[in-house]
């Protein structure tokens, strides 16, 4: 099962290496990872998606907590939360099929952000299922390149993931 972990870390040199190194050393797999600043200066938030059983994820959380620079680890999959990812897709586009592509993009509430004589770049935000669905539809036109940010997530409602 996939688990999405919110990891609050001190913004210190090497902290990403420590977290990534821990996963490889203990044989855990990171599906994806996104890092960015929080509203508190000096504290960053990592969103890490891990695939594994309850026991494995429990070990991941405990081992992460042992890292001195890690302040808090929460498993967002255990509570109601919203998850989003951003994907940019460069797809083959000629004059003849541009409107077909436009239609797909509109259905998925995406945006065309660049057009050239033989290609377009599409921006799409959503959850994993939506990403896979649009990829499937656009494959028909020929996808040239894809880039994804990795998942980010927040708890629903007024609850927050606090530092301490």
């Amino acid at each position: 099962m996939k688990h999405v972990l919110a990891v609050l870390v001190e913004d210190k040199p090497g902290v990403l290496t420590r977290v990534a190194g821990l996963f490889s050393r203990r044989g855990f797999n990171i599906d994806n990872l996104a890092v960015g600043e929080t509203i508190t200066p000096g504290i960053s938030r990592m969103t890490i998606t891990v695939d594994g059983s309850e026991t494995i994820v429990e070990q991941v959380v405990k081992q992460l907590n042992k890292l001195i620079n890690v302040i808090k680890v929460s498993n967002l999959s255990e509570e109601p939360s919203v998850m989003r990812e951003l994907m940019l897709i460069k797809v083959n586009a000629e004059v003849g099929n541009r409107s077909d592509i436009q239609q797909v993009v509109e259905t998925f509430r995406g945006k065309v952000i660049d057009v050239s004589p033989d290609s377009m770049i599409i921006e799409i935000t959503g959850n994993e299922e939506k990403m896979e669905a649009i990829k499937l539809l656009l494959q028909h036109f020929g996808i040239k390149e894809i880039v994804r940010t990795g998942k980010i997530a927040l708890l629903r409602g007024s609850q927050i993931t606090k530092e301490i």
């Binding site: 090497g14 420590r18 050393r25 429990e58 001195i68 620079n69 890690v70 302040i71 301490i164």
Partner: protein
């Protein structure tokens, strides 16, 4: 308040003073020249080793005996990389160390400069934490954190890498021993609800055992453990790392469990209905085949490291906390135990299966177990034993009676050959009044034999007992048992004459070829000053028994040699 400006090198030495550091273990080099220059005028002692690895092991031995962090200095590049085995060893056995390495000057970092190595990167997986200091202003704060992290919670090594120019930079010195680190708050007091559940489980148990480890020693829990065990009448089993936490000669002590553990300890763990794990990590050498480990038992696990709980075996009652504090809390609620039937059963096992390997002399070479038993018999109460790794280590664990905590130093987790001798040096410096014996093998000794110079130069009274079988004995034993006796490269042909070698270094060298000579050599060594090497020429192909083959249930025991 106006703060005086101080050089980085001086800040480090002030900080060490503040932390009560009396001795540093190290080896100088280019990148630490400014630090060593400052050390020249300092009242802090320095032990000059002959290889940086030995500096870490010596600091490790010192830390295990005193309970305070051992401090190491080494230079950049090879100086730092030579520390890695020692750091990993300390990490696996939860030993507090603060390692200060020199680094190439800040401006050269990342350029593959002469003697540059990314030591914080290299040691990231084997340190509790590490720092690369950017400027002298950071030094005071970082050192306070380093000592705090190393010596609290689950102990471990912390590395501080200091670029050469930072030693010469000036910054205000302020030292605040109390530091707050947002992501680091070890739990010391056990959860009250879990403690109540544990008390009930102990009260209901018919066949309880205490299984204790190195955590008992690190948290100074042996006193409360003894009260606890004797009030509740619960037998005690100690892992290799835990030996000494309960006196090895008391009735309730069943020995070490696992691969080369006592038969009684393994039977007791297998038949128990309650295992009270205290400061242990249920290592594979102890549990054997996990699926069949302690199938009949409920398990209480007390440990300061939450990640150890449930890592290897399923736990019924987890208690995160300091073992001593939790045992004290349990003791208060404990009723005297009624475990007579269980203790009778255990006594029967003990009578049927004494640890008797090597009792029958072959009449030819000395049995190695005999040497260990003689060393144990002739030693005073206050004796510290350090071992290397291999057969002699297991024989020492089986046959040397360890009576006190911090008196048995061994490389448990990493299994580092070459650990014992430098650790014994560190131990002697930590406890000059205690007798120190290093029990080693002809293979292990040669992995840090150069430290004879250190021991001689510092006139350290110690015995180095070389159990010399001319083999890499434990590996040979596995080749014997599992690889059709194909002794691929385990015969150590070309070994030096250890007596002559000792004398070449200026140490005393003795040799024993039969039992009588062995006893005499031990007695003589005990009356000598300075380091004495005794070369015990022992039966070359003696195996360690009892033995549980890897990944077998621990009650499936191979009994061999003269025990069968």
């Amino acid at each position: 308040m106006k703060k005086k400006m101080t050089k980085g090198s001086a800040i480090i030495l002030y900080a060490l003073k503040e932390e009560g550091v009396e001795i540093v273990f190290g080896y100088p080099g280019g990148a630490v020249l400014p630090l060593y220059d400052r050390l020249f005028d300092s009242s802090i002692k320095h032990l000059l080793v002959r290889h940086e690895q030995a500096a870490v092991h010596a600091a490790d031995g010192y830390a295990r005996v005193t309970g305070r962090p051992g401090v190491v200095f080494a230079t950049s590049g090879p100086g730092a990389t030579n520390l890695v085995t020692g750091i990993t060893n300390a990490f696996m056995d939860s030993v507090p160390l603060v390692l200060i390495t020199g680094q190439v000057p800040s401006a050269f970092i990342g350029t593959d400069a002469f003697q540059e190595a990314d030591i914080t990167g290299i040691t990231m997986p084997v340190t509790k934490h590490s720092y690369l200091v950017k400027n002298a202003e950071q030094l005071s704060g970082i050192l306070a954190e380093a000592f705090y992290i190393a010596s609290t919670g689950r102990r471990g090594p912390v590395l501080v890498d200091v670029p050469k120019d930072v030693f010469d930079q000036e910054a205000p010195y302020f030292y605040n021993i109390k530091c707050e680190i947002p992501g680091y708050n070890p739990t010391y007091n056990g959860h009250l609800g879990q403690i109540s559940r544990a008390v009930k489980a102990i009260r209901d148990a018919k066949r309880p055992v205490i299984f204790g480890g190195g955590g008992l020693i690190r948290s100074a829990a042996s006193g409360v453990l003894r009260e606890f065990a004797e009030k509740a009448r619960i037998p005690v089993i100690l892992s290799l790392m835990g030996l000494g936490a309960y006196p090895g000669d008391r009735d309730l002590f069943l020995g070490m469990p696992g691969m080369h553990g006592s038969i009684t300890a393994n039977y007791a763990l297998s038949e128990a209905d309650l295992i009270i794990g205290t400061g242990v990590r249920f290592d594979d050498r102890v549990t054997g085949k996990l699926e069949s480990f302690a199938n009949n038992a409920k398990i209480i696990h007390i440990d300061i490291d939450p990640a150890e709980i449930g890592k290897n075996v399923k736990i019924d009652i987890p208690i995160v906390g300091d073992v001593r504090i939790v045992l004290e809390a349990l003791l208060q609620k404990l009723k005297p135990g009624h475990t007579n039937d269980w203790l009778t059963q255990i006594e029967n096992w003990q009578k049927q299966n004494p640890m008797s390997g090597g009792l029958k002399s072959s009449g030819r070479a000395i049995k190695p177990q005999f040497v260990i038993r003689e060393l144990s018999r002739l030693s005073e109460e206050k004796t510290i034993v350090a071992t290397d790794v291999g057969q002699h280590q297991m024989w020492t664990a089986q046959h040397f009676i360890i009576r006190e905590p911090c008196a048995f130093l061994t490389s448990g987790g990493l299994g580092t050959m070459g650990y014992g001798f430098p650790a014994a040096i560190g131990a002697k410096l930590a406890a000059p009044e205690s007798r120190v014996i290093c029990i080693t093998g002809d293979g292990s000794f040669q992995m840090n034999i150069q430290e004879l110079a250190t021991a001689v130069n510092n006139r350290l009274d110690m015995i180095i007992a070389v159990i010399n079988n001319g083999f890499l004995g434990m590996v040979r034993q596995w080749q014997d048992m599992f690889y059709d006796k194909r002794y691929s490269h385990t015969a150590l042909e070309g070994n030096p004459d250890f007596v002559l070698l000792a004398e070449a270094y200026g140490a005393r060298g003795l040799r024993a070829k039969d039992e009588k000579e062995a006893t005499e050599a031990i007695k003589q060594a005990m009356s000598e000053k300075g380091p004495v090497v005794i070369d015990f020429v022992v039966e070359p192909e003696e195996n360690v028994y009892p033995m549980v083959a890897p990944n077998c249930p621990i009650n499936d025991i191979i009994i061999g040699g003269d025990q069968s």
